[in-house]
Structures are given as C-alpha cells and as structure tokens.
C-alpha cells in the first residue's frame, strides 16, 4: 500500500490502464499541455504523447460526442470534465447516445467510455457550477454511475470503469482531489462495480452515503454517534449509484431496523429519494422508524461561504436524524 492523494490515485488508475491497453486514451479541456485543470493528468502527456492525451476546445458537446463515437468504434476513451455542472450542455450525448447505443443497435455497438470529473458543491463556485449530477444520470438505464469516497476506492473503481464495456459516469469532487489515503499498488487491483462497501459494521442503525459527504461530514458524525451517543452505526459507502447494491442495503436494514441516507443532493427527486424508493418496500416490515434522508436545502447553491455550508448536511443534522430514527 502506498499513501497517495485522490488525484494521484486517479492518475495511477489511468496510467496503468493506458499502459495495459493501447485503446485507452484521455481527452478533455486542459488535460494535456496544462497537465489538467486540477493536475489529475500531470505528466501524462509526456508519458503517452499527444495522440493519447488530447486537449479539446471548450465544447463539451463536441468532445463528449467524439468519445461516444470513438467507443463505438472500439477505443476506450476517458473523457474528463472540469465540472460535471458543464455536462448540462452535452447531456444529449450521454443520456441519448452513450446510454442507448447498445440497446438501439441491437447489441451491434457497445460503448466503453468513462466520463469523469468533479461533481457537486466544491466551495464557492456559485449556483451554476455546483450541481450534483448523480440523480440526473443514475436514473438512466444504460449508464453506470460510480462515486468513490477514498483514494483507494478511486483507483480500484476507475480501473474497473475503464475496463467496463458500458458507459460509466465517474463522479469525483474538486474538494477530494487533495485528500490522502492508502492505495493498493497492484496493477490488477480493481473494485467491482455495483457492490457497496460496509465500511463499519453496527447493530443499531444503517447510515448510507457516497462520495464527498462521507469524508466531509458522515464519518465524523458516525464517530460522534458511536463515541458520544453510544449508537452502534452500520456505515455503508455505496461506491456505485447505478446499479444500486440493493442486496447489501436491505440485508443491513433488516438487521438494524433503521436507516438514514445522507447526500448533498436536493431532497425532492434527489439521489437519496431514489434510494429510499428502492428500499421502502423490501424493508417495510423491518423498519422501526421512517427512513430519514439528510440532504442539502432546496435552494440554489449560494456563493457565500457560510450560506453554502449552512445549506449542506452537517454533522449535527446527521446526528439528529440518526437519534430521531433511534428514538433517542
């Protein structure tokens, strides 16, 4: 195991896969000459040359479509977005083309492309650049949606995504890129898509989350609940949002009889709301309290630091929600 930053783990995953398979290439704004807007692809142009690390014009629709087409013709593109918020302008390429080409062509084409970049609220980027796109893409049959929460998971899941024959929406966060963690160096290390990680086993309540809020607020909240409130939390990191690992979630809730979902999406039609819909029927007879959903306030994301913090799930909000379902 090596200790690496999140962005280094992403770079290691891409580099190893590009070394392993010459059909893999990286394309996006500033990924080559500038070494990446957030330095994820630092040094990759030098190692692989301009044919495999490609700078694009500022046109998400154009290079996303190029990625879909290249994937259909047998390559394995990695398309980097500076922010997933920018994909509103190219959503047709993802939702209509990437997601449907295998189905619409009767299996004649597959579309092994990875779209990756920073998702969600990343500190004072304002309302238009702070979208949490997971619920937009996780509802689309034909897409796979992955959201790692640690550098190790980022490497294992990105390698699995690059090897996957279906289009993968890979959600990072600008705020996570500098976080450090242990990362396996084995070049064949991958993590299975569609399998959630029971990060902490517990008996009293199941807390479900994914991606950035885990490190920002969920893990500290769980620590407080366990140490200060004596509540034995089972913490599940979803890792993959589509397909959802319902089996793991339901088994956990059948054991704990209580569930709190945490994400930074808006509540109504949010990611957690979709998960809740999947859970309520199989878990109904096992629930001792209504499932709680801790999410961001339903307002445009404020630019002001304090307001931005205030709209998002906090340790306190999670602790209260967990105590509420535990009737404490």
């Amino acid at each position: 195991m090596a200790v690496m930053q999140f962005k280094e783990a992403l770079r290691a995953a891409m580099t190893e896969e590009m070394e392993r398979d010459e059909n893999v290439f990286l394309m996006g704004e500033e990924v080559a000459e500038y070494n990446g807007a957030y330095k994820v692809s630092e040094g990759m142009l030098k190692q692989f040359g301009p044919k495999r690390v490609i700078d694009t014009p500022i046109s998400e629709a154009a290079f996303s479509g190029l990625g879909v087409g290249a994937a259909c013709m047998g390559l394995r593109p990695i398309i980097e977005y500076m922010s997933w918020s920018f994909t509103w302008v190219c959503i047709d390429q993802l939702v209509n083309n990437a997601a449907n080409i295998r189905y619409m062509s009767g299996g004649q084409y597959k579309c092994p492309v990875v779209f990756r970049g920073g998702n969600g609220i990343a500190h004072q980027l304002g309302a238009t650049h702070s979208h949490r796109m997971e619920s937009v893409y996780a509802r689309i049959p034909g897409l796979i949606v992955v959201a790692p929460s640690t550098p190790g998971d980022a490497k294992g899941l990105l390698k699995a995504s690059i090897r996957c024959d279906d289009p993968v929406i890979f959600l990072e966060s600008e705020k996570m890129l500098g976080e450090k963690g242990e990362v396996p160096e084995d070049k064949d290390f991958t993590l299975p898509i569609g399998v959630a990680n029971v990060e902490r086993a517990g008996a009293d309540v199941t807390v479900i989350s994914y991606g950035r809020p885990l490190q920002r607020v969920v893990r500290p909240a769980v620590e407080a609940l366990v140490n200060d409130h004596g509540i034995d939390v089972e913490l599940i990191d979803l890792r993959t949002l589509r397909p959802l690992d319902l089996e793991t979630l339901v088994a956990s809730i059948k054991k704990t009889n209580r569930c709190v979902i945490v994400d930074e999406d808006w509540g109504y039609c949010g990611m957690g709301a979709g998960i809740l819909f999947k859970l309520q029927k199989p878990c109904f007879d096992y629930l001792d309290a209504p499932i709680e959903y801790v999410h961001s306030d339903e307002i445009p994301v404020p630019f002001n630091h304090y307001l931005e913090e205030a709209m998002m799930p906090s340790v306190d909000r999670i602790v209260s929600a967990v105590k509420e379902v535990c009737y404490r």
Binding site: A203, H229, G230, N257, F284, D285, Y286, L287, D288, A289, K323, Y327, R328
Partner: protein
C-alpha cells in the same frame, strides 16, 4: 358537538388531578393547543391544553377542585354552536364519565413490586414491604388480573387508532402480544420495537409478574429451551466482560453503624410527612458518598487508559444502578454535592421511575463519576460490584439490619450495614480506598458531619 375537556392522565400513576388555576374565563375564545388551565398531578403541575378551538362555555370545576382521570373539567363550544345552549345542556353535569380509576389493589401491588425491583429503594423497611407484597398477592391478584385484562383505553392516539412501526407490529405478531396492551414511546405515541421488546405483562401494573413468578411453569425433565439474548443483555454482557477483563479490580469492605442515621431519618420523615417526602437510607448514602468523594477526588474520576489520563470532577454525578426485567439501567443523578436530602429523594425517584419505564434520556445515563449499587432490598448482607469504566470505583451497599456488635465489653444490638468498594487499581490504591471508606463511615455514623 361541543368539545368536552376531560382530566388527562398525565402520568402512569395518576388517578386524579387538581385544577390549580384556570387560565381562561367563561366566554373566552380558545385556540387549539392553547393553555386553558394548570393541573397538578401526583408528580408535577402541568399545563392543560385545549384540543379544539372555540369558546369556553362551561367551567365544570372551581380552582382547587379535584377531578378523577377522564372526569369533566370544562366544555368548549365549537364554531357555530351557541354558548348559552351548551351551557344549558351541561347544567346538570354533562356526559363525561370519569375513567374507572385503577383499583387501589393494582397500585399497591405495583408499588411493592417497585420496591423489590429497585435495587436502591427503601433499604431499611424492605423486610416489611416484601412481606406485605407477598401477603397481598394471592388474594389480590385475581382481581388485579381481571382489571388488567379489560379493554385498554388509548389516549392521544387519534380516534383510538394504535400507531405502530411495521417492525414492532411484526414482532408483536410473532410473540402474540396484543398491541392494545402496549404504550408507545415513539413520536405521537407510536409503538416501536423497544416497546414490544420491553413488554412484559407487568407493564399493566406489575400484578401479572407478581402473580406469574410462583406459577411459572417448571421445565419438565428432558426439555430444553434456547433463549436468544436481548440487545440489552448483549450490551450488558459485553460491557461487564470488558470491565472485568481489563480493569484490575480490588475490593474493600467496611461495616457502618447506621443506628443513629436510622433514627435521624425517622425524625426527618415525621417532619417531612406533610410534604409527602419520605427519605430512604439510600438517600443518606448518596449524600454521604457525594461528601466523601469531594474529600477523596481520586475516586470521583474517569480514567482514559488510551491516554493514561485521569479526569477528576468537581461535580459528583452518581450512577444509581436500577434493575429492570432482564437487565439493569444506571441513571445518573447529577450534581449530588449541591443537593439536600429532599432533592436527592425526589430526583432519584423520578430517575428510578423513568428508568423502569425505559424513558430515560440518553444524557441521563451518561457521564457518571461514581456508581452506587444496592441489593439491600433483597436482604443481601454484602456483595462486590463490577466497575463501570471509565469510572474508577463502585460502591456495593448491603442491607441495613440489626446485628449483635461489641461496644466496649458488651454485646449490643445495632443497625449495621456493610458496604464494599470496588476500585480500579490502575488509578486508586488500597490506602486511598480505605481513607474514602473511613470518611464515609464517619459521615454515616455521625450524619451531623454532613453539616461540617
């Protein structure tokens, strides 16, 4: 239909309430949820709120009057109803019937039960209490059980509907428990998992358990029963095993002459009778332990082995072990050093009651700096207790009983009590523990020392 305001049952033991003060006058407009009167129960004075909006048409009870639970207190004329007509209709006393009060039998049996269940109850008088309980039980149980089995009236559950979590409903079905027998502790009175798990027939007044114990079907030869441990049992098992394995316990016992203290207690209780406060020996022990702890702060502390740090406290937060069916709970009486005996009594009783009803708040079970466990009510002479880490000491209190002791060269009968202190030897040494016990003995043998 005008809205009748009836006396609510504001506590489990309440049979009647006193209307202390009206907050509204006849003819006043009342909003739903608005406080209309103050009601005094056996425990506290509480606000009484109107369920419906309208005009207060009838005040059936004068201030200071007593009303049985379910009895008519007043009537609100709803929108569109004429106040005068409502008033006329109720001139003869109205239709509300007092809810049949619990028979004194149940109350009595329940009280005895609580003495037996409380490990911290009336040590001095327990022999007599237990005797009464067993004498009362046989002929009274039949009557008590009959009442228990009667249909249960639900309050605050919206038109008689019982709200219950899906899980609780499933467990109740599995265990064939009638949900109507349960009282929900969740929001809006929702019956939740812990209510079903905590249910024993004793919840209806203690009568059934008192009756069932001698009648419990004996296991027949060759029969085996596997019993899954409850969550509470598992938690107790884990915590105590961890303590006994990790904490190097040592034990010191001392005999304390509580003859004078018992007499003092009688004198004080005679004076406190009109306030309906009855001090127990346990209250004196809490007070004495708090005073002794302040003088020996090493024992009033919590130990963090991971940091090799001992935190001493200026407040004495006493854990008071209470046994409940299939387990125990340790509510925490906070700031005992600043309390008089009366306050200790009242706050302890409140904690015991809520502990047995499993209605303690989380913060009422945490941050104890020292714990007292008593089996005096069971007639246990002395025993040793397991420390509840990170505390570093626990005092096991035996029964106060007449013993033959030597005073000078004569053998005399004195009321004696043996207490055993368990200490964590990582923090407390033998001599320190002995000093503490000596101080405690001095205080309890000469309670005036509490004034010093």
């Amino acid at each position: 239909m005008p809205s009748e305001i009836t006396m609510p049952q504001l506590s489990d033991t309440m049979t009647e309430g006193t209307l202390v003060k009206w907050k509204k006058k006849e003819g006043d407009k009342v909003a739903s949820g608005e406080e209309i009167a103050e009601v005094e129960t056996d425990k506290a004075t509480m606000p009484m709120e109107a369920f419906d909006a309208g005009t207060l048409a009838v005040m059936a009870i004068a201030e200071g009057g007593k009303v049985p639970v379910g009895g008519l207190v007043g009537v609100i004329a709803l929108a569109g109803e004429k106040v005068d007509e409502v008033k006329k209709k109720y001139a003869g006393g109205g239709t509300a019937k007092p809810q049949e009060a619990k028979t004194p039998v149940i109350e009595k049996v329940a009280d005895q039960q609580s003495y037996v269940v409380a490990s911290h109850g009336e040590i001095h008088e327990t022999g007599a209490d237990m005797h009464n309980a067993s004498r009362g039980t046989e002929q009274e149980v039949a009557a008590a059980t009959a009442v228990v089995d009667a249909p249960v009236v639900h309050h605050g559950n919206g038109g008689g509907r019982v709200f219950v979590s899906p899980l609780a409903r499933r467990i109740a079905e599995d265990k064939k428990i009638d949900l109507g027998q349960l009282k929900g502790t969740g929001p809006g009175g929702r019956i939740v998992q812990k209510d079903v798990l905590a249910y024993t027939p004793a919840d209806n007044g203690g009568a059934k358990v008192a009756a069932a114990q001698p009648l419990a079907a004996p296991m027949t030869s060759g029969q085996k029963t596997v019993i899954a441990m409850t969550k509470m049992r598992v938690a107790i098992a884990t915590a105590l095993q961890r303590s006994k394995q990790n904490v190097p316990h040592f034990y010191e016992s001392i005999d304390i002459d509580v003859e004078d203290l018992s007499k003092l207690r009688e004198r004080l209780n005679a004076k406190l009778e009109k306030e309906k406060v009855r001090l127990s020996i346990a209250d004196f022990i809490s007070k004495g332990v708090a005073a002794a702890l302040l003088r020996h702060p090493v024992l009033n502390s919590r130990f963090d082995a991971s940091k090799n740090e001992v935190t001493q406290y200026g407040d004495v937060n006493l854990g008071l072990a209470v046994s409940i069916p299939d387990g125990l709970i340790v509510p925490v009486l906070r700031g005992v050093q600043g309390m008089g005996l009366k306050e200790i009594r009242q706050r302890s009783v409140d904690l015991y009651d809520r502990a047995r009803a499993q209605r303690l708040k989380r913060e009422e079970q945490s941050e104890a700096t020292f714990t007292i466990s008593s089996l005096g009510s069971f007639g246990i002479r002395e025993f040793s207790a397991i420390i509840n880490p990170p505390e570093v000491g626990i005092l096991a209190v035996g029964a106060a009983e007449k013993r033959a002791v030597v005073r000078g060269d004569a053998i005399v009968a004195r009321t004696m009590m043996t207490v055993t202190l368990s200490c964590d030897h990582r923090v407390v040494d033998g001599a320190t523990a002995a000093d503490f016990l000596k101080t405690l003995k001095e205080i309890l043998e000469e309670p005036a020392m509490l004034l010093v």
